[in-house]
Amino acid sequence: MSREAMMASIRESLGRTPGQAISAPPEARIRIPDVDEESRVGQFLAALEALNARTFVAPDAASARQYVASLTLGKDALASNAPLLRELGIADLDGVRCGITQLDALREHAARCDLGITSADFALADTGTLVMFSSVEEARLISLLPPVHVAVVPRQKLLSGLDELFALNPEPARRSSSMVLITGPSRTADIEQILVRGVHGPGEIHVVLL
């Protein structure tokens, strides 16, 4: 079998024997900067705006709902099953479909609708990143197929950056089969290095920070 042949060849090249112990790996390098919440919010918003994402800081639930309502007006939207979206009344807005747990229905709606609405498990302040774990609450396609993605994120979910994310989630695979980091709208520069947004993923992202 190829596995045995490859393993034998690797071990021969490295001068190792089956089951031989390894030396300790370099210690993982995790450095969490000390950034207060106010600065995180500032960094996060600045990073998002630099990426051409729209931001809205909602002082309360009603204003968050109102902002999202202004985006869904007259549109066909698909919301994830995140409890937060129900709590905020976003799931009940006109034109918003919510509560899908079947794959076929999800694919059909996500491919057709104008707008996908999700929450996020975390957000990274320094890079303006949304972190999404796949689950019954968050389907992967909602932040991917529609041309516009709206994410509603409580500010407590705002981490300083990658180091804090991996400190809190040293093994993301334990939690979900998929963790996706989203940093701004889908883009390409493949033709003459001209920046074009919205290639395969959403070309427009709105982040509502609670």
Binding site: I10, L144, P170, P172, A173, M179, I191, E192, V199
Partner: protein
């Protein structure tokens, strides 16, 4: 020197096309500037520490590759996925053909993967009646044009919007469109259908995470996410060297990869994929395979020093900064990996005798080593490969002329008396050949070999009428103050004999 004529014709196409050269130079220059901005002290103060950490992690993982691949396999299986070991491209093709047959599928969506380029996967699948579709915009354009990637990160770097318009018009039978935004939308529309139609999505892998059994994909367009989410089956094809020990190590690698490649602190999408859809999850593939490809890698591992070429995370920074890549472009390199990293990977994969000129096609400026995020000593590897190549040639008795030349030169340079005699003879022969110490041409009997190469491009300095050692002797005979040290008026250029 036979070698000169053997090499030169290969490099002509890009060198003879000033427009193309300028386009490449400008495009890579932009990437160089962007990278510089994001790794600068004020943006990433611990950049150098991160590079050292990335190097140490890669070295550790590669030196214990058997261990980490086993760990990776166990964890992929624990996540409900499967690992397929393939020694070469044929085994990968056979596996995918079997999978396609079993699932009765014809269309495979593919996200950008240099590893699958290495084994010409698309061509082989097409031969068997399947329809692999590249979904990265640049790769899609190249697939339509039947070209190989020009650049590891920016595959269609050499193409203009007008060439893209030509290709779309001819291959897609659509009305001519020259605006990149609109061209992108055309591709999006066509590829969206393919994503929803395909049963199998094939991706590469930027990292294989051993402690998680996960595949990590880094991209900007969203095509890798779609290829790995929409179809029922996800197959990641990865070189065995892609394994890293822990998920936490991504805190190091992700900070370096986007910055080095495109000057982005993070690319738009980073997918951490650990197996098929789980109970309770709504979407994601039903089946998850990781194909571990050898294709010559275990052979490269044999050299404990030069195996560092396998540390490469394919960011393309060494291509962008390389004055050679920036002049000759990606298609002058013999294999899919171009630029400095290609120059040290290709001979190790394909054999030293196949493209012996490649490691020599460098001015050894060292810029590649300086920007490599995992600190591969590319310039030193080039020197090592040059030595290996010349040793192999000597053993086989090939290309004796250059060897004989250097042997004679070494004798001269280690024998001061001979050296002095030769020096005196040289300046006697050449001193009157030029103007002000420089020649723009030489008599035919001197215009040969390296001299001819030199003179084809620039003027040649001639030996000084008196060498330094002669002048020094003269100087010792008189008080130092009376010796003119700089005769600026003697010539209009100054740095002359």
């Amino acid at each position: 020197m036979k070698e000169i004529t053997a090499i030169q014709p290969q490099l002509h196409p890009a060198l003879d096309n000033p427009k193309l050269q300028l386009a490449i130079y400008t495009a890579t220059g932009r990437l160089v500037d962007k990278r510089k901005g994001t790794v600068a002290e004020e943006s990433l103060p611990d950049y150098q520490e991160l590079r050292s950490q990335a190097n140490a992690l890669k070295r550790h993982a590669i030196d214990h590759l058997d261990y980490y691949l086993e760990l990776f396999q166990r964890n992929v299986e624990a996540n409900g996925g499967k690992v397929i070991w393939c020694r070469d491209g044929k085994e990968v093709v056979d596996f995918l053909l079997g999978l396609a047959k079993q699932r009765k599928s014809k269309v495979l969506v593919k996200s950008k993967s240099m590893t699958t380029e290495e084994i010409h996967l698309n061509e082989h699948l097409e031969e068997h009646g399947l329809e692999p579709v590249e979904t990265d915009l640049g790769e899609y354009i190249l697939q339509l044009a039947h070209e190989k990637p020009y650049h590891i990160v920016a595959p269609a770097l050499h193409m203009t919007r007008y060439e893209v318009a030509d290709i779309f018009e001819e291959k897609l039978k659509i009305e001519r469109e020259e605006v990149p935004e609109k061209q992108t939308q055309i591709a999006r529309g066509i590829l969206r259908e393919k994503f929803l139609e395909a049963d199998i999505g094939v991706s590469g892998a930027n990292f294989l995470v051993a402690d998680s059994g996960a595949v990590v994909l880094v991209e900007n367009e969203g095509n890798a996410r779609l290829s790995t989410t929409a179809p029922k089956v996800h197959v990641a094809v990865a070189g065995i060297e892609k394994v890293i020990p822990r998920a936490q190590d991504l805190a190091t690698f992700l900070k370096l990869l986007g910055r080095s490649g495109t000057g982005q602190p993070l690319t738009v999408y980073t997918s951490f994929l650990a197996g098929p859809r789980r109970e309770g999850e709504i979407d994601g593939p039903e089946e998850f395979y990781v194909v571990l490809l050898d294709n010559g890698r275990t052979k490269v591992l044999r050299d404990a020093d030069k195996r560092q070429a396998l540390f490469c995370i394919r960011c393309g920074a060494c291509l962008n900064i390389c004055p050679v890549y920036r002049r000759i472009g990606g298609h002058n390199y013999p294999w899919v990996y171009s630029g400095p990293i290609g120059a040290i990977l290709t001979p190790q994969f394909e054999g030293l005798d196949k493209n012996p000129w490649l490691p020599h096609a460098s001015s050894l400026c060292g810029a590649c080593g300086e920007v490599c995020p995992v600190k591969i000593e590319i310039p030193r590897m080039l020197l090592e490969l040059r030595a290996d190549i010349e040793a192999e040639k000597a053993a086989k008795g090939e290309d004796k002329l250059e060897k004989l030349g250097f042997q004679a030169w070494a004798r001269l340079m280690s024998n001061p008396m001979l050296y002095r005699a030769a020096s005196a003879a040289g300046s006697w022969v050449l001193q009157d050949a030029g103007d002000g110490g420089w020649a723009s041409q030489l008599p035919f009997f001197l215009n040969a070999g390296p001299t001819k190469g030199w003179l084809s491009q620039r003027d040649l300095p001639l030996p000084a009428p008196k060498s330094f050692r002669q002048l020094w002797k003269d100087r010792l005979r008189q008080p130092p103050s009376s010796v003119p040290v700089r005769q600026q008026d003697a010539t209009d250029e100054g740095h002359s004999a």
